[in-house]
């Protein structure tokens, strides 16, 4: 039996990689994937702790996060598509229309 702490460490590592990806990468699609990775790291934590405490709440919450993530991807990709059509770039640095 794998101890719960392994799962928590793994998810922390995954979350840190995702966050770092969001911060350092410039390509919108990569940033998107990094965000997904952060979400899934959280999902892993939920599932692991649900198993640890033998309760279903955590697992239900995972399903919830998946639904939200799917919706977010749909909208996010649509925005990316329209930006690409408009500016012909996926570089986040060029998307600064609302700059003060």
């Amino acid at each position: 039996m794998v101890p719960t702490s392994y799962f928590l460490v793994l998810s922390a590592v995954l979350f840190a990689i995702g966050a770092l990806g969001v911060l350092v990468r410039r390509n919108v699609l990569i940033i998107f994937m990094s965000v997904e990775m952060m979400l899934n790291a959280v999902n892993l934590t939920f599932a692991a702790l649900a198993h640890h405490f033998l309760q279903l709440h955590g697992q239900v919450f995972v399903l919830m996060v998946m639904v939200v993530a799917a919706a977010e991807v749909a909208i996010g990709l649509a925005i990316v598509m329209s930006v690409v059509r408009h500016k012909d770039t996926t570089n986040i640095e060029d998307m600064n229309l609302l700059k003060g």
Binding site: A19, V22, R26, M95, K99, G100
Partner: protein, 632 residues
């Protein structure tokens, strides 16, 4: 009929509404008929009330008519109510009667004016407000009329507002009157706080009990009323607006600035006779203000060369005589002179209008001469008016002025001395106008060639007014004065007058003789100076030097007021507009806007456009929150 007094207000009100809304569509003929007709109907109501009143015993002649309750605030209650008594009916007859004739005359005089309907709407509005003033049974409703006639006066003086002088004259009249109106408003407040009512009958019943003779409150109320009267009736110190008011159309000068509105102050003092009897000191002030104004304005009239301005100063001077009368307690004599003056001064103004009409707007008497050859009707009626003004025996002005001088003599002999000198001056300038304008030879040939008599719509009112100017005096013959007896129940002047007459019949006859001699002497001197010996006026002017300059410049009163009132106010206004408003008010508003803008420009830098930075900030925020929760 007395219960239908409200009809007197209804007709002019209808006239105002119909002409204001449909005037241009109805056309000149209809408007020119409708406006005089409305005033005539009012006049007919007044005559009917007068006739009915004659049939009643003296104590039943006063009638109050409450139309509706105007306002109730706490224990303060005012009605829209009319008081019909001997005094208000007399005033109503004069206002609507003379007003009707002037309306008819205006229909001819204003014939070519592009704003014809507007003129008649304003004239009818004036009649409406003047009847309100006269018929009101309380001070507040009277104040409404008082302000209303001031508004009408402003609109009509500035009727030809394209001319800057006319627009300025309108403003001047309005602003100067405002000072007086403020006095009346304060007087009303004093009366209300002291007596708890504004209705005439209650005020006059309570005042002697609550206040008594010489009380400070009654002094304050009457002095404030005197201030109000000096504004409306153009007395020292507020007379400066009336001569400038001559910029308005001539019928306006005749109706408002000679016959009716300017007498409102005299009417108010006569109406408040009970209060003025309680304040003898104020009465003295009234008399001296009156006689000083009469003298000052009379001397200015001597030097003027503009026909209408001579008449304007003459009006100021004659109003001064009325003030003397009401000041010495001879209220009936004041109202009597008010009535005769309404006839002859309206006549003189309309005559001046007729001359103006004939000479294409020329009013300088130095350019006239021999006009009697071209304008016979105007000439004869003008002579009747001038003779009545001069106080030539057996004409109306003779009897009324003499009554005033008699009471002035009884009261204080110095008043009489100044009065009789002014009467002499009056006679002189009246005939100076006649001789310079109508006698001698024509000075301006071209003007004279084109002169023509006015149409009948203008000459018939002149003839009717001339009849009034000649005959109106016979209601107030010395010692058997009908008007004294008629007004006695209202003014309580009858006993005083009858007593004086009984004791001093010889004195009155002597004074009568002196007045007659003085009037004739003034007229004769004018004849010598302007017909026989033409070099004389010039020699007199030169020999008087400094005095001539002073009088010709109207005692520099306008200049004085400009220096001590107008210019300082302008300076304050300029400072407020340019310094206080632009730096103070605008500075505060603009400063606030600037500060907000600066703050925004600083905060804007946070929005750098670098998404990575936002994400980092969010991360740090989240970590910081977590840390805070963890540590707590």
């Amino acid at each position: 009929m007395l219960d239908y007094a409200w009809l007197m207000l209804l007709f002019p009100a209808l006239g105002v509404l119909i002409i204001s809304f449909f005037g241009t569509r109805l056309g000149r003929r209809v408007v020119g008929f409708l406006a005089p007709a409305m005033v005539f109907l009012s006049f007919a109501v007044a005559v009917a009330m007068f006739v009915q009143m004659l049939g009643l015993p003296a104590e039943e002649r006063s009638h109050e008519l409450t139309l509706w309750n105007w306002m109730v605030v706490g224990n303060f209650s005012v009605d829209i109510a009319l008081l019909i008594d001997q005094l208000s009916v007399t005033m109503a007859l004069v206002v609507t009667g003379v007003g009707f004739l002037i309306h008819v005359y205006s229909a001819g005089y204003m014939h070519d004016d592009p704003r014809y309907p507007r003129f008649f709407a304003f004239l009818n509005f004036f009649i409406l407000m003047m009847t309100t003033l006269i018929l009101a049974n309380n001070y507040l409703l009277m104040f409404v009329g008082w302000e209303g006639v001031g508004l009408a006066s402003y609109m009509l003086i500035g009727f030809w507002f394209e001319k800057p002088t006319a627009a300025d004259a309108g403003k001047k009249a309005f602003i100067v009157n405002r000072i007086g109106d403020f006095g009346l408003l304060l007087a009303i407040m004093v009366i209300w706080t002291g007596l708890g009512t504004l209705q005439f009958s209650e005020v006059f019943a309570r005042a002697p009990e609550v206040w008594g003779v010489g009380n400070a409150a009654v002094m304050a109320a009457t002095m404030l009323m005197l201030l109000a009267a000096t504004g409306k009736s153009a007395q020292i110190p507020l007379f400066v607006w009336l001569p400038d008011a001559m910029e308005g159309p001539t019928p306006v000068s005749a109706l408002i600035h000679a016959a009716t509105m300017v007498t409102a102050g005299v009417y108010m003092i006569a109406r408040s006779a009970v209060l003025f009897d309680l304040a003898p000191a104020t009465g003295n002030w009234v008399a001296w203000v009156g006689v000083a104004t009469a003298f000052v304005a009379g001397t200015i009239a001597l030097t003027q060369t503009d026909l209408k301005r001579i008449l304007a100063y003459s009006t100021v001077s004659q109003l001064g005589f009325m003030f003397v009368a009401v000041g010495v307690g001879a209220y009936a004599a004041g109202i009597f002179h008010l009535m005769t003056h309404a006839f002859f001064k309206a006549l003189l103004f309309l005559g001046a209008g007729s001359v103006m009409h004939a000479l294409h707007g020329e009013l300088d008497i130095r350019k006239m001469g021999n006009l009697r050859a071209k304008l016979p009707v105007t000439y004869w009626t003008f002579v009747a008016g001038a003779a009545a003004l001069a106080g030539i025996p057996l004409l109306s002005g003779f009897f009324s002025k003499d009554a005033i001088l008699f009471y002035a003599f009884e009261h204080q002999i110095p008043l009489w001395v100044v009065g009789i000198i002014t009467a002499f001056i009056t006679a002189f300038y009246s005939f100076r106008m006649v001789f310079m304008a109508f006698w001698g030879e024509e000075r301006d040939k071209k003007l004279f060639q084109h002169a023509h008599e006015s149409p009948r719509v203008m000459t018939i009112p002149l003839i009717l007014l001339a009849a009034g100017a000649v005959l109106a005096g016979y209601v107030g013959l010395p010692s058997i004065s009908a008007i004294d007896g008629w007004l006695e129940p209202v003014l309580k002047a009858g006993e005083h007058a009858a007593e004086g007459a009984a004791h001093n019949f010889t004195l009155e006859m002597i004074l009568l003789g002196v007045s007659a001699l003085v009037a004739l002497a003034g007229a004769y001197l004018a004849y010598r100076a302007y017909i026989v010996n033409r070099g004389m006026p010039k020699r007199v002017r030169e020999s008087l030097g400094f005095v001539t300059k002073l009088v010709e410049n109207k005692y520099y009163v306008d200049e004085l007021y400009n220096a001590i009132v107008v210019e300082p106010l302008r300076a304050i206004g300029g400072w407020l507009a340019q310094t206080f408003d632009q730096r103070g008010i605008d500075g505060a508003v603009n400063g606030l806007a600037g500060a907000t803008g600066w703050l925004g420009s600083q905060v804007r830098r946070l929005q750098s456009g670098m998404v990575g930075l936002y994400a980092l900030a969010m991360l740090f925020g989240a970590v910081a929150l977590l840390a805070w929760f963890a540590i707590r």
